[in-house]
C-alpha cells in the first residue's frame, strides 16, 4: 500500500517537473540575449513606434536583440512576463491593476497613449453628444467585461445616471448592428477602427462624430509598457536601454517627416489597410501619443493612473487598493 502511494507521488512530481521544466518562468534576458516584446493587439497604426523601433534599428543600436510579437484577444503580456515568454509587453491600465490585485509583480515603465483611443462613434446627423446626459435614451454599445464597459459605467456614474437611462447593448467585432442602426453609439479605437468606420459611412453619404470620455473627466489609461519587477531589479540597464530605444522609435514614428518610412514599416505587417487610410490613422495616433508637445512621449500620467484605480475600485473590479502609483517606474526620457 505504502509503495503504491510512493509510486503515485513520484509519478505526480515527475509530471509536474516535466511540465514545470518546459515553462521558462520569469525570464529576465541579460545583455546579449534576445528580448521578446509582446504587444497588446495586432500590428497597425497604433503600434507604429514599436514596429519602427525594431525595423529602423533603434533596439539594435542600443545593443538589444528584440523580437516584437503581435498581440491579440487571446494574448496577455503580463502573463507572458511571469511565465518568461516575454521580457517586455504592452498592457492597458485595467490589466495592470487587475494583475496587481492578484499578486503579479509587474511594473510600468512608460505610458504610450496619453489620450485613450477608446471612444464611441455615432452618426452626426441623427443626434449630438455634447455632454454625458445626452446619451440618455440611446442604445450604447459596450463589450461586457472589456475596459469600454468600465469607462462607460464610470461616465454614467459621473453624470449621476443609471443603466436604466441608457440602453446598453453587447457588441463584438462585427459592426452590422451599428450599420443597421440597431446600436446608435458604438465603441471603437478612434485611431484605427474609427477611421475605417467613418470612411464606410462617408461612402454611404453619412457623417460621423466621436464621443471622447476624456473630455468628460474620465481619463482611463490605455496602452503602457510593462516589465516584471524581477527584470527591473536584476537588469535595470537593459530596462533603461529598451525603454529609451522604444521611445526613440515612437518619436521617429510620430514625426510627420518620417511618415513614408513609418507607413512602410507598419504595412509590412498590416497588409489589409491602404496607405492613404494608414496616413489618417497615423495623424490621429500622433494626437493621442503626444497631445501636448511639452510632454515627452512615454510620459506616465500619475493622476490618470490613480483615477483608473479609483474607477476600478468604485466598480468593484478589484477588492482593495493596489497602490498602482508605487508600480509606476518611469525610465529616463519617459
Amino acid at each position: 500500500m505504502h509503495s503504491h502511494c510512493a509510486l503515485y507521488r513520484l509519478a505526480i512530481w515527475t509530471l509536474l517537473l516535466i511540465i514545470g521544466g518546459s515553462i521558462p518562468t520569469a525570464g529576465t534576458a541579460t545583455a546579449g540575449e534576445p528580448i521578446a516584446y509582446r504587444l497588446k493587439w495586432l500590428i497597425n497604426a497604433s503600434t507604429a513606434g514599436d514596429v519602427v523601433a525594431r525595423q529602423q534599428g533603434f533596439f539594435e543600436r542600443a545593443g538589444l536583440e528584440v523580437e516584437v510579437k503581435a498581440g491579440g484577444p487571446e494574448r496577455d503580456a503580463i502573463r507572458e512576463l511571469e511565465l518568461g515568454y516575454a521580457q517586455f509587453g504592452v498592457a492597458s491600465a485595467d490589466q495592470v491593476i487587475r494583475a496587481l490585485a492578484k499578486g503579479a509583480s509587474v511594473v510600468v515603465v512608460a505610458q504610450l497613449f496619453q489620450v485613450n483611443p477608446l471612444q464611441w462613434i455615432y452618426r452626426a446627423a441623427d443626434f449630438s453628444l455634447t455632454k454625458v446626459e445626452d446619451l440618455a435614451g440611446h442604445t450604447v454599445g459596450i463589450t461586457y467585461g472589456g475596459n469600454d464597459e468600465t469607462i462607460m459605467r464610470a461616465l454614467l456614474a459621473s453624470a449621476g445616471m443609471d443603466a436604466g437611462q441608457v440602453k446598453l447593448a453587447s457588441v463584438r467585432y462585427d459592426y452590422t448592428p451599428f450599420f443597421q442602426k440597431q446600436v446608435a453609439v458604438w465603441p471603437v479605437y478612434r485611431n484605427t477602427q474609427g477611421i475605417f468606420l467613418a470612411d464606410k459611412l462617408k461612402a454611404g453619404g453619412e457623417t460621423v462624430a466621436f464621443f471622447d470620455p476624456s473630455r468628460y473627466g474620465v481619463r482611463f489609461v490605455a496602452n503602457s509598457v510593462v516589465t516584471s519587477r524581477k527584470m527591473l531589479d536584476q537588469h535595470p540597464e537593459t530596462v533603461l536601454q529598451f525603454t529609451r530605444a522604444l521611445l526613440d522609435g515612437w518619436q521617429a514614428a510620430m514625426d510627420p517627416a518620417n511618415e513614408e518610412a513609418t507607413i512602410t514599416a507598419v504595412a509590412e505587417h498590416d497588409r489589409d489597410t491602404a496607405d492613404e487610410v494608414m496616413r489618417r490613422q497615423l495623424a490621429v495616433t500622433r494626437q493621442m501619443i503626444q497631445p501636448d508637445p511639452s510632454i515627452p512621449i512615454g510620459h506616465i500620467d500619475t493622476a490618470a493612473w490613480q483615477q483608473t484605480e479609483t474607477i476600478m475600485l468604485n466598480q468593484k473590479l478589484i477588492d482593495k487598493p493596489v497602490s498602482v502609483i508605487s508600480r509606476l517606474h518611469p525610465q529616463s526620457g519617459s
Binding site: I12, L17, E74, I78, E82, K102, G145
Partner: protein, 249 residues
C-alpha cells in the same frame, strides 16, 4: 452507468485542477496566471448559482440543437445509405461541408440571423450534425447480410425494415454516437455564445477572459463537465432501455 460517468468526470477534473495547482506551486506563479485554491473556492461560492443558470441555458440550446441534428442526420443518413447517385452526392456533400470551420461560417450566420438564440441553435446543430451524419451514413450504409439476405430472397425487405435491422444491429454504436454528439452540441453552443450570443456560459466565459479571471473559467468548466456527464449518463441509460425493450419486443 450514471454514477460512473459522474465520478469519472470528478477524477478527471480533480486531476486537471490538481495539476494546475501543482504547476502554480512548483513555479511560484501569481494568482493572476493561475488562481490558488482559495481564490477558486471564493469564486465558486460567489458565482456558482449564476453559472448554473448560464450552463442550463446553454444546455437547453444544446439539447434542442442535438435533437434537431439527430433528426436531420437520421433523415439524410437513411436517404444517403443507398448506393445511388443521390446517396453518393449526399455523402460527398456531408464530407465537404463538415470541412469548413464553424468560425468561418459564423459571421454569415450573424449577419443573417443576428446574435441571439437562433444563431446559437444553428451553430450547435451544425457542429454536432455533420459528425453524426457521417456516423449514421456509415451505420445505415453497411448491410447486415445474414439477416437481410433472408428478407431479400423472400421479397419482404422494404426500406423501413432495412433501416430497422441496421439500427437494431448497431444500437450500441448509435447510442455511443448520440451520446458523443451531446458533447459536440454543448461545445458548439458554447462556441456560438463565445462569438455571438448575449447569454449562456460561453458568453460568461468570454467576459471572464476579458477580466483575466481564470477562477471563473475553472468554475464554469466544472459545471459544464458535471452537467454533460449527467446528460451523457442519462442518454446511455435510455439507450440501454431502448435496446432491452426492442429485444423483448
Amino acid at each position: 452507468m450514471l454514477h460512473r460517468r459522474i465520478y469519472q468526470f470528478l477524477i478527471v477534473y480533480g486531476l486537471g485542477i490538481g495539476l494546475l495547482f501543482g504547476i502554480k506551486m512548483t513555479l511560484g506563479l501569481s494568482d493572476y496566471v493561475i488562481p490558488g485554491p482559495a481564490g477558486v473556492w471564493h469564486t465558486a461560492k460567489a458565482e456558482f448559482v449564476r453559472y448554473i443558470g448560464d450552463v442550463l441555458d446553454t444546455f437547453f440550446v444544446a439539447v434542442v440543437g442535438q435533437v434537431l441534428s439527430i433528426l436531420m442526420a437520421l433523415t439524410v443518413g437513411v436517404v444517403g445509405r443507398r448506393a445511388t447517385w443521390f446517396g453518393s452526392f449526399i455523402k460527398v456533400a456531408a464530407y465537404n461541408v463538415q470541412a469548413y470551420p464553424i468560425v468561418a461560417i459564423a459571421p454569415i450566420l450573424f449577419i443573417l440571423l443576428g446574435d441571439g438564440f437562433l444563431t446559437r441553435l444553428v451553430i450547435a446543430a451544425m457542429i454536432c450534425y455533420f459528425p453524426l451524419l457521417l456516423s449514421i451514413i456509415g451505420i445505415m450504409g453497411e448491410p447486415v447480410s445474414d439477416i437481410e439476405h433472408f428478407y431479400r430472397v423472400t421479397g419482404r425487405l422494404r426500406w423501413q425494415l432495412e433501416v430497422k435491422i441496421r439500427a437494431f444491429e448497431n444500437l450500441n454504436k448509435l447510442t455511443t454516437v448520440v451520446s458523443g454528439s451531446a458533447t459536440l452540441a454543448m461545445a458548439g453552443t458554447i462556441v456560438a455564445e463565445f462569438i455571438a450570443a448575449n447569454a449562456g456560459i460561453g458568453y460568461s466565459i468570454r467576459i471572464a477572459l476579458y477580466q483575466s479571471d481564470l477562477s471563473k473559467i475553472l468554475v464554469a468548466l466544472f459545471i459544464i463537465g458535471i452537467t454533460l456527464s449527467f446528460y451523457q449518463g442519462i442518454l446511455e441509460l435510455i439507450g440501454a432501455g431502448v435496446k432491452r425493450a426492442w429485444a423483448a419486443g
